[in-house]
């Protein structure tokens, strides 16, 4: 029996989702998560199977995101008809600044709402609030949100400050809920509660499941829930919509730019399908447990064969088995020749017929979705970075290793120095890196590219489905052909670290090994 089946069978016992509680367990508790590792993927998998993954400390650590700020601060405020309240000192909301402007880059024609504001407020906690507690301030902010925006839901994002002084958020909410129309959704994303930013995803879904999702009025057999993180792009939404509409299915994209009603009706869908398994995990399991909405977590629709499989899984739960084979055939006719061209182009770039080496810097979800895609393109991945790792994706990792062979995994959240060391030492032909991971600097003989920008609406940046497979493939080819980005980087930037660091054989030099 595979690990996945073992986990699925005992899931209730292993990781109970208990909506009577105020929040979810953190990822460390729920799934033995870590954000420190470098070594063979097979070893990490063994450790995960044997419950031996350690969440260790670093003696030196670079800045990163937090449970509140990595994800929630940016995305919850996009929910339509809703207001987000940061119950925090004013600085905790700073990463939400600028996103209104950024998302305005998505043209209205592509589906971004024209009437478009991100409604968020902060309680601006100060010294007095810390000393005396801030229940009244939160209450007044909720009333202000109701008065100004008449929203359908008010999300309260908690912070380190409210966590440390033990603010009774639920007490305040129960006092005021009856006096306003909006449904209040407290989300426990205190930064200090977990070092794994995924805990923020789970805390958010817990709040959505507990306070917003309603008993289904009627099951909508053609509705598929898809949690669409916008670190995948706007184009990916369009591609998924295109494919599912050909099967006669509708997509319920959540949470970004969803309405509150869409969240309320999550229970009516025929299925919850993943784009990023680690992101969707808690929601999928919660909807299954509470409303018997089926789900699958793997594979995400990245690359041709995984998109085939993703569609087949969707079809299985929606009774579209016949239609899906027809669709896959049609789509292959259109896209596979283009992928073959890309493979040919990439083959031409080989020196001594050695496969081109690509190093991806990814979240856990991309780790298990993109490596098979690189393999499909005839590329090799000597290593992959993942922001964190937990045992929710053990089986998927095993599948990937079986398919493409062993590789190194670096697990870290925004530790640019560790990443720089590995890139320098492995010297891949191409590195994908996230702007937040600090991977852009002078490189002499290979290419550094950013994998995507949140909400990017350009077809060039797509990653999902067939169109995404081709767009991403072209993007890779282009990265080798046009080196101007690399040239400018080399000219304009200096190395970020001293030589000893690049020469250091152990990227986890600063790990506290408890010796």
């Amino acid at each position: 029996m595979s690990n996945r089946q073992t986990i699925e069978d005992n899931y209730e016992e292993l990781f109970p989702i208990d909506l009577s509680k105020n929040t979810c367990p953190n990822r460390e508790q729920r799934a033995n998560g870590t954000n420190v590792y470098y070594g063979k993927a097979s070893k990490l998998l063994d450790d995960a199977k044997n419950n031996k993954i350690l969440c260790q400390e670093r003696k030196f650590q670079q800045s990163g995101g937090c449970v509140l700020n990595f994800y929630l601060a940016v995305r919850v405020a996009t929910i339509r008809d809703a207001v987000t309240i940061f119950n925090a000192p004013v600085g905790c909301s700073s990463s939400a600044l600028g996103y209104r402007e950024l998302f305005r880059g998505v043209p209205v024609e592509l589906g971004r709402p024209a009437q478009y504001n991100l409604n968020w407020l902060t309680t601006n906690l100060q010294s007095d609030d810390v000393i005396y507690g801030a229940a009244d301030k939160l209450k007044n902010t909720i009333l202000k949100a109701e008065e100004r925006y008449s929203p359908k839901a008010i999300f309260i994002l908690t912070s380190c400050t409210t966590g440390i002084i033990g603010e009774d958020i639920e007490g305040t909410v129960s006092e005021i809920q009856d006096k306003i129309n909006a449904r209040i959704v407290p989300i426990h994303c205190e930064g200090v509660r977990s070092r794994l930013v995924q805990t923020g995803y789970d805390a958010f879904w817990h709040g959505v499941l507990k306070y917003l999702v309603k008993e289904p009025k009627e099951k909508q057999e053609d509705l598929v829930n898809v949690a669409s993180m916008l670190s995948y792009t706007w184009q990916d939404r369009l591609e998924i919509e295109r494919l599912l509409s050909k099967l006669g299915l509708r997509v319920n994209f959540i949470p970004e730019f969803a309405t509150v009603e869409q969240l309320e009706k999550l229970s009516e869908a025929a299925l919850t399908a993943p784009i990023c398994p680690t992101y969707t995990d808690y929601l999928s399991r919660g909807l299954k447990k509470e409303y018997d909405v089926p789900f699958f977590l793997y594979p995400p629709p990245t690359g041709i064969s995984n998109t085939d499989e993703w569609l087949r899984q969707v079809a299985k739960y929606t009774g579209k088995e016949d239609e899906v084979e027809k669709l896959i055939n049609e789509e292959h006719k259109r896209w596979v020749p283009q992928i073959n061209n890309i493979k040919e182009e990439l083959k031409k770039l080989r020196v001594d017929n050695k496969k081109i080496q690509v190093l991806g810097s990814l979240g856990q979800g991309r780790l298990v979705s993109q490596l098979p895609y690189y393999d499909e393109l005839g590329l090799e991945s000597p290593a992959a970075m993942s922001q964190d790792f937990d045992d929710l994706l053990m089986d998927e990792l095993e599948e990937v290793i079986d398919k493409i062979g062993d590789f190194n995994i670096m697990v870290n959240t925004f530790q640019a120095a560790e990443q720089a060391n590995i890139i320098q030492n492995l010297d891949p032909d191409l590195t994908f890196t996230c702007p937040f991971q600090g991977g852009n600097w002078e490189r002499d003989n290979n290419v550094t590219r950013i994998h995507s920008l949140r909400g990017d609406a350009d077809p060039w940046s797509a990653q999902s489905g067939y169109a995404g497979a081709v767009a991403f493939g072209n993007f890779i080819v282009q990265a080798f052909k046009n080196k101007s980005y690399q040239k400018i980087l080399s000219e304009k930037t200096e190395k970020s670290y001293k030589d000893w660091w690049y020469q250091q054989p152990d990227p986890l030099y600063y790990l506290e090994r408890g010796e």
């Binding site: 010294s127 007095d128 810390v130 000393i131 005396y132 507690g133 002084i165 009774d168």
Partner: protein, 289 residues
């Protein structure tokens, strides 16, 4: 500038800390010294017996109302015999963060240069509890008090609090924090209570600054909203406080005590358990009388 004696007095809640501190303040003031007493407890009742039982405006509450406009005169109130009384204040029970409150209040007093303005000879900080967090450690950290006392009875929980205080002192001693100057043994009536406390200070390489017997005179004075020094200046108990105050003023002893680790403390307490039970019976008998 003259040398100011700054003393922090810690101890478990209800152990007689404020009573003792106020009587020391009153005795020193009576002896001609300029005294300031700063209550560091959200209950804000440290100085009540110096102000005729009345509450005074607290630093935190006033800061909250007045913000930048707060003048230090508004929160330094003259009590019995012109003793300067200050209450830090703090949140209602169960909300907010009292520790952060202590930090804020003490920072305000330091910024306002109250020592220059009021020129006290002695400043006494009366601090709640057993140093549960950084805020309550504020008075023993660098630049505030220079001598620390703890009020303790022979009750195990009071000793536990004293031991925690020793841990706090040890921690901050490297950074120029306050040093320990002695344990004030309160409510000591029976010889066994004295034995227990003397054994504790032996184990922790500390000293006893004085013994205060249990006394109805103190309770009576408190009910009138006064210190024993004010209400019953000729009583034996007043004399006990005067002696204690004098010895504290002259005490030059300052050292780092050796707190017991929690297992050691547990074992030590166990070694006294029979005696403690015996004592409990005696005390109950005492109350019946």
């Amino acid at each position: 500038m003259k040398k100011i004696k700054e003393i922090a007095i810690y101890g478990k809640g209800g152990i007689g800390k404020s009573t003792t501190t106020s009587n020391i303040s009153a005795a020193l003031s009576d002896a001609g010294y300029t005294v300031m007493q700063v209550g560091c407890d959200p209950k804000s009742d440290s100085t009540n017996t110096l102000t005729g039982g009345k509450s005074i405006p607290t630093v935190l509450e006033s800061l909250r109302k007045r913000r930048g406009n707060l003048k230090v005169e508004d929160v330094i109130i003259e009590g019995f015999n012109e003793i300067y009384c200050v209450e830090a204040g703090g949140p209602e029970p169960g909300v907010g963060c009292a520790g952060r409150g202590i930090i804020t209040a003490i920072e305000f007093l330091k910024q306002e240069n109250i020592y220059e303005k009021y020129s006290p000879d002695v400043v006494l900080y009366d601090v709640l509890g057993d140093v549960v967090c950084g805020g309550f450690a504020m008075p023993i950290r660098e630049g505030v008090a220079n001598q620390v006392y703890t009020v303790s009875s022979a009750d195990f929980m009071a000793i536990y609090a004293a031991n925690n205080l020793f841990k706090g002192i040890k921690k901050y001693s490297n950074g120029g924090g306050a040093l320990f100057s002695g344990l004030i043994a309160n409510s000591v009536t029976f010889p066994a209570q004295k034995d227990i406390l003397e054994d504790f200070i032996l184990q922790t390489k500390s000293t006893i600054a004085g013994f205060i017997p249990r006394s109805l005179t103190v309770t009576q004075a408190e009910l009138w909203g006064k210190t024993t020094i004010e209400a019953n200046p000729d009583s034996n108990q007043a004399e006990v406080y005067r002696k204690l105050a004098k010895s504290i003023y002259n005490n030059k002893e300052e050292y780092i005590p050796s707190p017991l680790e929690s297992d050691e403390l547990k074992n030590w307490a166990e070694s006294w358990s029979d005696k403690l039970l015996e004592l409990r019976k005696q005390e109950e008998g005492d109350f019946k009388i």
